[in-house]
């Protein structure tokens, strides 16, 4: 019976035929989705809608972490002005998706507490809604004041606006305004028929996650084409993804030290990050791994020489990083700033649908490498690193532990690789897509779960492309974590999450 309510697929596998996805009535959809999302081991990968002849078709992909299946639910709405009963009051994590749908298509969601714009895209339904006339949430009170920061920040970072409502030094509420980085990435994917151009776009969704988003795209394209990457290529991709994770985590540790004026930690980590990204450059010519991940093959297949270099560098990095980490996280002046600062509770993390690091620091084992494995992670044992306290300290420690774990994973993978037949071929930019299909691709980037969804028409043409960076969920986690904190702790809280602006704004 369940077969008629949803369609089930697995990550990095055969796509769904759009005709096989049952379209159910909205009340039933609501009931089913709510029931699933109230389970802790389920969360929404993506919920979006696209125009069809008779109106709008809604697609909701829910990841079931226990079974490793992705359930696709669907409902349709006519072209009328009728409202839908919002899912947000019963599953608050859906707030962001409903806001996005509202912003893009003008769909009204009855009972949604706050349909705040997500990114002010060029294709928004209400062209009168612009950043400059947005009314921020305000609180009244003689002792209260507001602090506005951004979009241009003091550091060299991406733009976003933060509006704090404070009582003295204490933050009562933080509202985050994003959208400054909107470049119209999703539309560019469907406007072009050039496979190479799409690959390059995917590497630019968030340049700090070029490998993560590049892999999510390559995997999606291969799934639509029915192409099975050979083992050697799968291993190479996993190594690249772990190298990216190691580099960013070490860089973030440096940034955390900067914010609490611990210079030794900062400079030591900066130098180690340089070593890691220069190794990526040694492999593919680019420090961020741009050019490395391609559908169908690789322009830079792994070689014996490169694996030797990777292992040599990682051995040194692991040892030195271990030393500096033991200094950072025992130093009283650092602990004083990190411990019990910017705490996100487990309950809050579940409520906002936090993914990746933000979830794992609250004891929620969301790691799609383990739960929805892709590429060679299917054959690899992944032990998600967990922390329990949800504060800046936990987020710092999690990074330190994940670096260690990733080094271990790479060692294992290079061992596997050396025994394998090397079958990595040149990339394919001309892969034909299965017609009338919907493919979902999930990758655990260093921030967390990246999800790309694509829909093809009856001619196998790409007609819809949707990207979700983990930041989309996690920005709200940051807003909650800084409540009742001193405003001077905001930088260190922000750094500890290190969320993507362009990944949110697209």
């Amino acid at each position: 019976m369940n077969g008629r309510r949803y369609f089930e697929i697995r990550n990095d596998s055969t796509p769904a035929e759009t005709g096989n996805i049952p379209v159910i009535d909205y009340p039933l959809f609501r009931e089913e989705v709510t029931a699933m999302l109230n389970r802790e081991d389920c969360h929404c990968l993506n919920y979006f809608c696209h125009p069809v002849e008779a109106g709008l078709r809604f697609i909701c992909c829910i990841a079931d972490d226990s079974s490793g299946l992705i359930r696709i639910f669907s409902h349709e709405k006519g072209d009328d002005d009728s409202a839908l009963q919002s899912l947000t009051p019963s599953c608050s994590a859906m707030h962001i998706f409903e806001r996005e749908i509202h912003e893009r298509h003008g769909v009204r969601f009855e009972g949604h507490p706050w349909l705040k714009p997500v990114r002010y895209p060029s294709y928004r339904a209400d062209k009168l809604s612009v950043m400059n006339n947005y009314q921020f949430y305000t609180m009244a009170g003689e002792a209260l004041h507001e602090v506005g920061v951004g979009p241009v920040h003091a550091g060299v970072i991406e733009p976003g606006h933060f509006r704090f409502t404070c009582n003295g030094e204490e933050v009562l509420h933080l509202e985050i305004q994003l959208g400054y980085q909107h470049r119209g990435v999703e539309s560019l994917f469907t406007e072009t028929g050039d496979g190479l151009r799409r690959v390059l776009l995917s590497e630019s969704i968030a340049g700090d996650t070029a490998v993560g988003h590049g892999l999510a795209h390559a995997q999606l394209v291969e799934s639509l084409a029915g192409f099975n990457p050979p083992g050697s290529l799968q291993v190479e991709r996993c190594i690249a993804l772990e190298l990216e994770r190691i580099a960013v985590h070490i860089g973030d540790t440096a940034a955390l030290c900067t914010d609490v004026a611990y210079q030794l930690g900062q400079v030591a980590c900066e130098a180690l990050r340089t070593m890691v990204i220069n190794t990526t450059q040694f492999w593919c010519g680019n420090r961020f791994g741009k050019g490395l991940i391609r559908p169908g093959g690789s322009n830079y297949p792994l070689t014996e020489e490169i694996t030797v270099e990777i292992l040599r560098v990682l051995e040194e990095v692991e040892r030195r990083f271990g030393n500096i980490v033991s200094c950072i996280y025992t130093l009283p002046s650092v602990l004083g700033r990190f411990e019990e600062t910017g705490t996100l509770t487990r309950q809050q993390a579940l409520a906002v649908g936090a993914v990746g690091m933000a979830a794992r620091t609250c004891g929620i084992p969301r790691d799609t490498r383990a739960t929805h494995p892709f590429q060679y992670y299917r054959q690899t044992v992944i032990n998600p690193v967990l922390q329990e306290r949800g504060d800046v300290m936990s987020r710092g420690m999690l990074r330190a532990m994940e670096v260690k774990e990733s080094v271990k994973i790479i060692r294992g993978l290079t061992g596997e690789w050396s025994k394998m037949k090397k079958e990595t071929e040149r990339p394919r930019y001309d892969l034909g897509f299965r017609p009338g299909s919907l493919a979902v691709s999930v990758v655990e980037g260093w921030r967390g779960e990246i999800c790309h969804v694509a829909v093809t028409d009856i001619n196998g043409r790409l007609v819809h492309y949707r990207i979700k960076d983990p930041s989309l969920h996690n920005w709200m986690a940051l807003a909650l974590a800084v409540r009742n904190q001193e405003i001077s702790d905001f930088p260190v809280c922000n750094k500890s999450f290190n969320l993507s602006y362009c990944g949110n704004d697209l």
Binding site: Y120, P121, S122, Y123, N132, P151, V152, A154, G155, V156, I157, E158, P159, G179, Y180, Q181, H182, R183, G184, V185, S187, L188, D194, L196, R197, L200, L201, S204, I205, A206, G207, D208, A210, L264, V267, A268, E270, A271, T274, Q281, F282, W283, C284, G285, N286, R287, F288, K290, G291, N299, Y300, R320, N323, I324, S326, C327, S500, Y501, C502, D505
Partner: protein, 250 residues
């Protein structure tokens, strides 16, 4: 204390002594070399392949202001295109980013095109404000790296400052999103004159892959004089610092 000393001794000397001649890996894609006399049909095919429209289908020249350094032209047409690891590719004029076929295809840095007051006033101290306007955070991270323990551009008195009021110029990354256009304009106005404008990365120079997107608004770039173009995807810290050194005459 012993632990800290061990970290310092492990850390050693990280500083790149000669930023002009730092070896970078073979595969790094810097200045391209284009062989003269390539078959017209091959040049045309390369131009059609280029996802950024950087290759001229008639002359075979390659515009580094549009190039996203994907290397596909060199991989598919190796007899014509080759990327060297020469990272000194910044230019003072937009047209100097166009690399022509032949041994002397790169115009190089034209110091004469730099405004005189730029060198006179900023040679020994240049404070910059960075504005990311749709940048993908890779250029931003490389700009941060330009000031780190390895590249240390601070040795020349060059650094990023927190406010445009303290700055001598702005460094723009990203294709300039419409939603960021006004903030960019305001930041520029808040910077005291005389001031420089530096475009960092292919996205900033030409819009890159995002040129033509309805979410991009490049009026600012079109109406102002740009002092330095730093190509790359992202621009390497060495490219950025060498570009500044060329501009300032260091």
């Amino acid at each position: 204390m012993r632990k800290e000393l061990r970290i310092l001794s492990d850390h050693g000397l990280q500083y790149v002594p000669d930023l002009r001649n730092q070896p970078v890996s073979e595969r790094f894609r810097g200045r391209p070399v284009i062989t003269a006399g390539g078959a017209p049909s091959r040049i045309k095919a390369a131009a059609a392949l280029c996802p950024a429209g950087a290759i001229d289908k008639h002359s075979g020249s390659l515009d580094l202001g549009k190039c996203v350094f994907c290397n596909e032209c060199a991989l598919n047409f190796p007899e014509i295109f080759r990327f060297t690891n020469d990272y000194r590719i910044a230019a003072s004029k937009r047209e100097d980013l166009v690399v022509k076929p032949g041994n002397n295809g790169s115009p190089g840095f034209d110091g004469k095109a730099v405004r005189q007051e730029v060198r006179r006033l900023f040679k020994r101290s240049l404070k910059l404000r960075q504005v990311s306007a749709g940048g993908d955070n890779s250029c931003e991270m490389e700009l941060n790296a330009a000031g780190n323990v390895n590249f240390d551009m601070g040795r020349y008195g060059i650094e990023f400052v927190a406010s445009p009021r303290h700055a001598d110029g702005i460094v723009i990354t990203g294709p300039v999103s419409e939603n960021m256009a006004e903030a960019l304009e305001i930041t520029y106005k808040a910077t005291p004159s005389p001031k420089v404008i530096i475009l960092c990365g292919t996205d900033a120079i030409s819009g890159g892959l995002f040129a033509g997107s309805p979410a991009i608004k490049r009026d600012f770039i079109e109406k102002h004089h740009v002092d330095l173009f730093v190509p790359g995807n992202p621009a390497h810290p060495l490219t950025f610092i060498n570009g500044l050194m060329d501009m300032l005459g260091i």
